[in-house]
Symmetry: C2
DNA sequence: ATTCGTTGTGTTCAGATGGACATAACCAAA
DNA sequence: TTTGGTTATGTCCATCTGAACACAACGAAT
């Protein structure tokens, strides 16, 4: 989980998919927790919202990023597919690229910015 | 003006500023056209909207990114300040970094994505 | 003084977005 | 067969967003 609050990267693809830190963190939380609802709790979002995001991601690929099952002793659960892990890893790599190689530009962009009250 | 419709980069700063291709293209259009309204026309957005974006950007820096004047023979106009040019250049550099150094990840992320009807 | 294109502002309205609830379906284990 | 935690889905509502208009202020050139 990236804990740099200063910068976040959001990609808009031509397919209509938008993928940013929210979905990346959600994928990672699902991977670590083994369920969508636990991931949602950890990220302080409703299950409804977490599930919607997963549905949206899955809908943009022929194979889902998250494989879920319901029922059973533990109620069910969810895991990342190979594709899901790959998407997460690629996004993290782009984030790292930006942070490392783009440090100069980011620092300059940030320099002197004023917080603006909403 | 970046003409790769496939990917766009949006940065969220802690100051509250969000800066993506829309604002970058707008800055560039202002630089090339010399006015906010002409830039807005070129980007097919209302003057109201273009002006609001400029106001938002200016508000997030101690010195404005766009310097505007009104009245006169040509009605007025707007130019980029040094800071404005620098912000634009830094954003473009980050875009290029992603496209070049991140080509592999981006290609893989894009691979097999399905267009999803709204 | 008039002109003319631009800047600067306000207002209204439809549509998108996300939060908050509610509820059914599922199924291994006890 | 009951239990319990999870997945799956629907609905309502406050809020945010952006599009669409409308209009005053400005000032160099004529």
């Amino acid at each position: 989980m990236t804990n740099d609050p200063r910068i976040s990267l959001r990609l808009h693809f031509e397919s209509g998919l938008t993928f940013g830190r929210g979905k990346a963190d959600l994928l990672q939380a699902i991977q670590e927790q083994g369920s969508i609802s636990a991931a949602g709790r950890r990220m302080k979002m409703s299950y409804r919202r977490a599930w919607s995001l997963v549905e949206d991601m899955n809908a943009h690929f022929p194979e889902p990023l998250v494989d879920s099952s319901r029922g059973g002793a533990k109620g069910g659960g969810a895991v990342l597919t190979d594709r899901g892990r790959q998407v997460l890893a690629d996004y993290r790599a782009l984030e790292a690229l930006l942070r490392d190689q783009g440090a100069g530009q980011l620092a300059r962009l940030r320099a002197g910015q004023r917080s603006v009250p909403t």
